[in-house]
C-alpha cells in the first residue's frame, strides 16, 4: 500500500505543479510560454518513444504534429460552420487520431527497416509532406496558414476557452494525461520489447517477436501523441501553417529530446521546458538564437550525450554516496575558465552577427553585455577573441583535473559497491 502511494507521489507532485504554475507565473507572456511548454512536453515525449525507447532516429516527426494540428483546425472550423455540439477539449483527440492514421500509413512504409534506412525514409516523408503543402493550398492554407476562432465552439461546462488561462489548463490536463499514458506504456510488455528492439533487434526475433510489428506499433503511438500535441498547439495559437510540419520543427523536437536526455523518461520533459524557454527568451535577446541552438546541440552530443537529466543523475549518484567533495574543487577550478570562454564565444558571435548580417540596415553600433561598442572597430573583436582564447586554453589546461577527480570518484564507488 505504501509502495503504491510512493509511486503515486511524483504524479501528485506533477499535477500540483501544473495547477499552481499559472498562479505564480501569471503574466500573459508567461502563460503563453507555459502553454507552449505543455505542448512541447507531449511532442518531445512522443518523439522519445521512437528515439530513446525503440532506437529509431526520425528526422520527420513534425509531420504528425503538423498534420494533427491541421486536421484539428479544420475540424474546429467545420464544427463552427455546422454548429456541431463539439467543444474544445475533444479536439486534441481528433488531432491524435489524425496523427495515428498518418502514422499507420507512413509507418507501414518506414518501419520495415531500422537504422539508417528508417532515418532516411523519415526524412524523405518529411520533405514529401512539406512540399505537398505548397500544392494542397486549400488544406495547408499557403503562406498564411489556416486560422480559427476557438471561442466559437460549443462551450464546455460554460467554458469557451477565450482566455489563455483556460487554454493553459486545457493543455495542462491533456499534458498530464499524455505523460501518464506514455509512462505507463513503457511499463508494459510492448514497451519492454521496444527496448529490446533498440538493444538487439535480431535477438528479438528469436524470442518470438517481430521487430517490425513492434516498430510499427511504437510509430503509431508516437504519431498519435504528436498529433495530440499538434492539435493543442493549434488550439493555443488558433493558427496552423506549413512550418509546423517542416524540417525545422522536426529538428527542434530532436534537439529537445536530446538536450534533456533520451536515456530517461523525464529527459525529454526537461528538454522541452529548457528549449521552449530559451527559444522564447533568446529570440528576444538575439537573432542568432538558432546558431546557439546548433552549438548547444553539438556540445550536448560531444560532452553530455545523456543530456541534462543524464548529467544530473550521474552527479546525484555521486552526491548520494558522499563523494561530491572530490569533484567540487575540480569543477570550481574549471568553471571560471569555462565561463570566460563562453562569454568570449558569445561576444564573438554577436559581433559577427552584427557586422555581417545587420550592419547595412541597422549600423554597426551595438550593446554588448551592457557596453556600447562598434562592431566595425577592432577593439571589441580583440577583447572577444582574447577572452575566448584565454578561457579555452584555461579549460584545456585544467580539464585533466576533472578527469582525475572522476577517475577517483568512480574507483571509490566501485570499491564500495563491490564490498
Amino acid at each position: 500500500m505504501s509502495a503504491r502511494l510512493g509511486s503515486l507521489m511524483p504524479w501528485l507532485a506533477l499535477a500540483l505543479l501544473f495547477i499552481v504554475t499559472p498562479q505564480i507565473l501569471s503574466s500573459a507572456t508567461a502563460l503563453t510560454m507555459t502553454s507552449l511548454m505543455g505542448v512541447m512536453i507531449i511532442f518531445a515525449l512522443s518523439y522519445n518513444m521512437l528515439l530513446g525507447q525503440t532506437g529509431l532516429l526520425s528526422f520527420g516527426h513534425a509531420v504528425y504534429f503538423g498534420l494533427g494540428g491541421f486536421v484539428a483546425i479544420h475540424t474546429m472550423n467545420a464544427v463552427i460552420h455546422s454548429k456541431l455540439p463539439v467543444s474544445i477539449p475533444m479536439i486534441p483527440l481528433v488531432g491524435g487520431l489524425a496523427g495515428l492514421a498518418f502514422g499507420a500509413l507512413f509507418g507501414l512504409v518506414s518501419t520495415r527497416r531500422a537504422g539508417i534506412v528508417f532515418s532516411m525514409i523519415s526524412l524523405g516523408l518529411g520533405e514529401l509532406v512539406s512540399s505537398s503543402s505548397f500544392i494542397l493550398r486549400s488544406f495547408f492554407g499557403g503562406e498564411e496558414g489556416v486560422t480559427t476562432n476557438r471561442a466559437k465552439l460549443a462551450p464546455f461546462f460554460g467554458h469557451r476557452f477565450g482566455s489563455q488561462l483556460e487554454v493553459y489548463y486545457l493543455i495542462a490536463a491533456w499534458c498530464f494525461f499524455c505523460v501518464a499514458a506514455m509512462y505507463a506504456l513503457t511499463q508494459t510488455p510492448f514497451g519492454r520489447m521496444c527496448n529490446a528492439v533498440r538493444e538487439n533487434p535480431e535477438r528479438v526475433e528469436f524470442v518470438g517477436y517481430s521487430p517490425r510489428v513492434l516498430r510499427l506499433i511504437a510509430f503509431c503511438f508516437a504519431a498519435f501523441f504528436a498529433g495530440v500535441a499538434g492539435a493543442l498547439g493549434a488550439i493555443s495559437f488558433e493558427i496552423m501553417n506549413a512550418q509546423q510540419l517542416g524540417s525545422q520543427q522536426s529538428s527542434l523536437v530532436l534537439l529537445m529530446a536530446y538536450i534533456g536526455g533520451v536515456g530517461s523518461f523525464a529527459g525529454p520533459i526537461v528538454g522541452a521546458v529548457i528549449i521552449t524557454f530559451l527559444q522564447i527568451t533568446l529570440s528576444d535577446v538575439t537573432n542568432a538564437w538558432q546558431l546557439y541552438f546548433g552549438l548547444m546541440f553539438i556540445g550536448a552530443v560531444l560532452y553530455a550525450p545523456d543530456g541534462v537529466v543524464g548529467w544530473l543523475r550521474m552527479h546525484l549518484r555521486v552526491v548520494r554516496r558522499g563523494a561530491a567533495w572530490r569533484l567540487a574543487p575540480a569543477y570550481a577550478l574549471v568553471a571560471p575558465a569555462l565561463a570566460l570562454a563562453g562569454v568570449g564565444a558569445i561576444m564573438t558571435i554577436e559581433l559577427a552577427n552584427r557586422q555581417l548580417a545587420q550592419a547595412r540596415s541597422e549600423g554597426s553600433a551595438m550593446r554588448l553585455f551592457g557596453l556600447d561598442v562598434d562592431a566595425s572597430t577592432a577593439w571589441p573583436w580583440i577583447v572577444a577573441v582574447g577572452l575566448f582564447v584565454l578561457g579555452a586554453s584555461g579549460v584545456r589546461l585544467l580539464w585533466p583535473r576533472v578527469g582525475e577527480a572522476w577517475g577517483d570518484v568512480n574507483a571509490r564507488l566501485q570499491i564500495r559497491s563491490g564490498a
Binding site: 505507463a184 508494459t188 510488455p189 514497451g191 519492454r192 538487439n200 524470442v207 517481430s210
Partner: protein
C-alpha cells in the same frame, strides 16, 4: 512417430560456394544430439538454416512434421524451436532480469500487450525468478547484461534461449571459451534445462559431448559423414581421420 526435428537434403550456398551440401538428419523427441566437426564445417550455418536466420537454397526442415524452412525466426520460435548463439547475443543495456523477461513474454501469451503493467504479471515474474535461479544469476538480477563476466553472459544466453519453454533447443558452442570449472557448471546447467526437451548442440569439447549426448553427428565440409551413438562414433575410422585425429594434433 514423427521426429522432433527433421532436416531433409538441406543445402546452402553463399554465392558460388556451397557451404551446406545436402544434410539430412532426424532427431527424435527427447534426444540430446551433438553436432561436431572442424571449424568452418558449417555447423553454425546449419543452425542458422534451421532457426530461420538464413533461408536454405534447397531442401527442407520440419519441426514435428510441420515444414518450417523459409519462415522468419519469430515464426519458428513461436512453433517451439529456440536457439542460442555462438557469439553471445543478448540485450546488453538491459538488466539480467529484463533480458529474461523479454525472453518469456511471448510464450506466456503477452505478445504485443500494451495495456497491462509488466510488474503485475505473476506468471512472468515467477518464470523469470525460476530462470534466474536455474542459471545462477539471481544475485546479479539488476546488473546490466553487457557488464557481466563472459561465463555469466554465456549462462544468460542459455537463459534467454530456454526462457520461452521451447520444446526443441539448439545450443551453438555453449561452453566455448570457458575454463574447466565454468565448463562443468555449464554442462550441469544444460543437463538440467534440457530435461524432457529435445536438444541439439554444437560443441567442440569432446569431454562435454561424450558426457552429454545420446547421439552424435559429424559434419565435415557441409556433409554429415557419420551419425551414431557416442561409442560408435569413437570407434568410427572415418571420423577419426576427419576430425578426432585432427583434434589430437
Amino acid at each position: 512417430m514423427t521426429a522432433a526435428l527433421s532436416i531433409i537434403e538441406l543445402r546452402k550456398s553463399f554465392g558460388p560456394v556451397q557451404i551446406i551440401r545436402g544434410v539430412s538428419l532426424d532427431i527424435a523427441e527427447g534426444e540430446r544430439h551433438a553436432i561436431i566437426g572442424p571449424n568452418g564445417a558449417g555447423k553454425s550455418t546449419l543452425f542458422n538454416l534451421v532457426s530461420g536466420r538464413l533461408a536454405p537454397s534447397s531442401g527442407e526442415v520440419r519441426l514435428r512434421g510441420e515444414p518450417i524452412s523459409g519462415l522468419p525466426p519469430f515464426q519458428i520460435n513461436r512453433r517451439g524451436l529456440s536457439r542460442s548463439f555462438q557469439i553471445t547475443n543478448i540485450f546488453p543495456n538491459l538488466s539480467v532480469e529484463e533480458n529474461l523477461r523479454c525472453a518469456v513474454l511471448w510464450s506466456l501469451g503477452y505478445k504485443y500487450v500494451f495495456w497491462k503493467s509488466i510488474y503485475r504479471l505473476r506468471d512472468v515474474r515467477e518464470r523469470v525468478e525460476w530462470l534466474m535461479e536455474r542459471i545462477g544469476l539471481t544475485a546479479r538480477r539488476d546488473t546490466q547484461a553487457g557488464v557481466l563476466s563472459y561465463a555469466e553472459q554465456r549462462a544468460l544466453e542459455i537463459g534467454v534461449t530456454i526462457g520461452g519453454s521451447a520444446e526443441v533447443i539448439l545450443l551453438d558452442e555453449p561452453t566455448a571459451g570457458m575454463n574447466n570449472s565454468e565448463s562443468e557448471q555449464a554442462v550441469a546447467l544444460i543437463r538440467k534445462v534440457s530435461e524432457g526437451k529435445t536438444l541439439v548442440m554444437v560443441e567442440h569439447d569432446m569431454g562435454v559431448v561424450f558426457n552429454l549426448a545420446d547421439r552424435i553427428s559429424v559434419l565435415v565440409y557441409g556433409q554429415i559423414i557419420a551419425s551414431d551413438t557416442p561409442e560408435r562414433i569413437r570407434e568410427n575410422a572415418a571420423v577419426r581421420e576427419a576430425y578426432l585425429g585432427q583434434a589430437q594434433h
